[in-house]
């Protein structure tokens, strides 16, 4: 009935892997291994490293932003540069750090969790990864193009975005490439899950991480083309004389916002559902108890995904929609609290009467549940249209979405890395270092983002490089938190680097005292090059 049965899966499937014919023995040598990679683990590794590099790049931009906002007055970045930093920071973090990290995790874990040898479409997998370095090279090159990089915000609202200089088509093509990459990644996930599950693994026996990714993949296929369409319309408005978003030609700038947020709201679930999946794996393990309400978790994920398509205009209450439209989007947004609540309650119930220990993945998962819930609360507040007229486009919004994205999505990714890294590389990491990374991250992420709620409520608009002195105190606190949070992440990079190189050997189950459930723990550590050459049996 539930995922627990997977624990009984045959643990000896890997033993005869060398009886297969040549070409299955291992990776190619040198650069070819990566350039021609078709192995899900190699591609997963490249995705994860790419994501880490982008996380540091986007993080550096965040540091510059916080340095400028440390004190009132303009010290570092003139306003145009500041706007380009906020824009690039968002694009890089959303499309370069969070999304590729989850695709990397999907690549590594889905075949191992469903009992497959590899992803279903390995060459497309290669292509979808290798588009990314080109996409982000193109995007980052905009920093040195005359006229500067895009500075109209990651939401790319016209007419402002049409004032971008020569970097505009570069950014549009970069987004096209990212979208194509995401869609191919999503197709691969769906085909793998639908066709390559081990016999006996019915849909409702799949691990939650696989479930959340399956739903995420459908969201990606549904909305990435919408984003591609929107930016293409911007491109033709800019260069080919169309007037989709220009009132003078019968168009409407607000129509862009509708199209963008039809992509944008599902996008926020694309960035959080896989994290839900990770947390739903980690909490049961370290509570030594199966996930409470497995079916409810699956249905809640599906409901959130469905609702995400009918709430988009909650980002647009101030655009002057008709009253009936405002009512609809306010109410539909409030509904999301119900399935989200179910998830949080289920995680809590999973811990209830468990036997809880606090290894680094569990610490990050717990921090995720607490802090994501805070982001959920502020989300509920933002849904109230009459109050949103005050919150909209202030630092309250900045605090809200950073709570769901940093201690939300990114802590989810970190929980996953700490959970599965020993399985990937075969080495155990330094627990003290990992726990130090956890505590510093959790403390400073709150010092960084909690005061931004106060700034927003006090009336500080977002996306401004300079502010009145009444906002100085909390901005100072927030910036200090930001620098410390940023520096803490170097610890994470060092920890990964040193663990991959060396460390005590990890056991096959890695978390022996917690006896984790799931097919990935039936494989040796490090996992063999081809995960399951013979399908394991699921009872």
């Amino acid at each position: 009935m539930t995922a627990t049965h997977i624990a009984d899966a045959n643990a000896h499937v890997h033993s005869n892997s060398h009886e297969h014919d040549a070409g299955h023995h291992g990776p190619m040598k040198g650069w070819r291994r990566w350039a021609y990679a078709t192995n899900h683990k190699d591609i997963g590794t490249m995705y994860l490293i790419f994501s880490l590099v982008m996380f540091l790049t986007g993080g550096l931009m965040a540091m510059l932003i916080r340095a400028e906002l440390l004190r009132p007055g303009i010290q570092l970045l003139d306003p145009a540069k500041f706007n380009s930093m906020t824009t690039m920071h968002a694009l890089i973090m959303v499309f370069g750090a969070v999304m590729p990290a989850f695709t990397g995790l999907a690549n590594w874990m889905i075949p191992m969790q469903v009992g497959a040898p590899d992803m279903a479409l390995p060459r497309m997998n290669n292509f979808s990864f290798w588009l990314l370095p080109f996409a982000f090279t193109l995007l980052l090159l905009t920093l040195v193009v005359p006229g500067g990089s895009p500075a109209g915000g990651w939401t790319l609202y016209p007419p402002l975005v049409l004032q971008t200089g020569d970097s505009f088509p570069m950014a549009v093509f970069a987004i096209h490439l990212m979208g194509a990459s995401s869609i191919m990644g999503a197709i691969n996930v769906i085909v793998t899950i639908m066709n390559m599950r081990a016999p006996g693994m019915s849909l409702l026996k799949m691990p939650l991480f696989v479930w959340t990714w399956l739903i995420t993949a459908y969201l990606l296929i549904a909305v990435m083309p919408v984003l591609a369409g929107a930016v293409t319309m911007l491109l033709t408005d800019h260069y080919f004389g169309t007037t989709f978003f220009n009132a003078a030609g019968g168009g409407d700038p607000v129509m862009f916002q509708h199209i963008f947020w039809f992509f944008g709201h599902p996008e926020v679930y694309i960035m959080i559902l896989p994290a839900f999946g990770v947390v739903s794996e980690v909490i049961p393990t370290f509570s030594r108890k199966p996930l409470f309400g497995y079916d409810a978790m699956v249905y809640a994920t599906a409901s959130i995904a469905f609702l995400s398509f009918i709430v988009w205009a909650h980002h647009m209450f101030t655009t002057g929609m008709p009253l009936i439209g405002e009512m609809f989007f306010m109410m539909s947004t409030m509904l999301i609290a119900i399935p989200t609540g179910v998830k949080v309650f289920n995680w809590t119930a999973t811990m209830w009467k468990g036997s809880i220990s606090f290894e680094p993945p569990m610490l990050f998962a717990l921090s995720f549940v607490f802090l994501f819930t805070i982001g959920g609360f502020s989300g509920l507040m933002l849904a109230m249209a009459p109050a949103d007229f005050q919150y909209h486009d202030t630092y309250f919004v900045v605090a809200h979405f950073h709570y769901v994205l940093v201690p939300g999505a990114i802590f989810g990714i970190m929980a996953a890395v700490y959970y599965w890294l020993p399985k990937w590389c075969g080495h155990m990491y330094n627990m003290t270092l990992a726990k130090t990374h956890f505590w510093l991250s959790t403390i400073f992420v709150n010092v960084l983002f909690f005061p931004q709620h106060f700034l927003g409520l006090a009336g500080m608009p977002r996306r401004i490089p300079d502010y009145n002195t009444q906002f100085a105190d909390w901005n100072f606190v927030s910036s200090i938190g930001g620098f410390c949070f940023g520096a803490t992440q170097l610890l994470f990079v060092y920890l990964i680097w040193s663990t991959v190189r060396s460390g005590p050997k990890a056991t096959d189950k890695v978390w022996d005292s917690a006896a984790p459930i799931g097919l990935e723990w039936t494989l040796p550590s490090p996992a063999p090059y081809h995960s399951f050459e013979e399908a394991p049996e699921i009872k």
Binding site: G73, I74, G354, M384, A387, F389
Partner: protein, 283 residues
Amino acid sequence: MSKNLKALACIASILLASPAFAAWQLNMRPGITELSKQAYGLHMEILWICVAIGVVVFGAMIYSLIKFRHSKGAIADTTLLHSTKVEVIWTTIPIIILVFMAYPAARGLIKDEDMSGADMTIKVTGYQWKWEYDYLDQKVDFFSTLARDSNAARIKGSGIDPYSVPNYLLEVDHPLVVPVHKKVRMLLTAGDVIHAWWVPALGMKRDAIPGFINELWFRADEEGTYRGQCAELCGRDHGFMPIVVVVKSEADYAAWLNAQHAPPAEAAPNAPAAASAAAPATT
């Protein structure tokens, strides 16, 4: 020790009390209009609901983390897989809470959108990076831009300390002047890109969109000077197009209006120049 406590109490009183103390401000302010008070009321209601839910949920989680620790020898009850009863309860209770939140929110929204019975109408146009106010039927029309001292201080490397500039970045050359207790309807549009007109104390924010006309309304209950900023990213100087609204008594407003009309030669197209001469000291 008691010295420390005293210091702590002092800090706490600064943090929590007197809205006059701008620094370290924690919360939204009620503002001076029906709509702003309504937004504040809704904000506080939802905030307390969230706090209550947080106490229950976080309480249960923290209790579990303390009570059911592996290190304390807790044995997991692996039979606890699901419970239809509990699941129905924790789906139903949020629905009921949401209904209690939705009702005042919907009523508030209807009030927000009720533009009827306005006493006067002002058209505001956003430009990169200034505002234009057009008092319809009054033949008063002027631009409102960032005050000079702020504008000088905000340049990179200006060497001017922002703390030495009064109302740094929140002062304009010509503020919007409106009468107290009158329902003012604002029509919003823009000349180039999208801007948003927002004065927190008035409780309403609305986008000014090129080629379209939006509207909002407010009725100020108290005289005074209220400050806000453009709230939609509009390019390089988005952070430097503040909004200042001066609410005057009806008599003072009438006098101000007369002064705007006073030098007839300069009245119409050169209104900004006229206004700067006539009303420099509006605060």
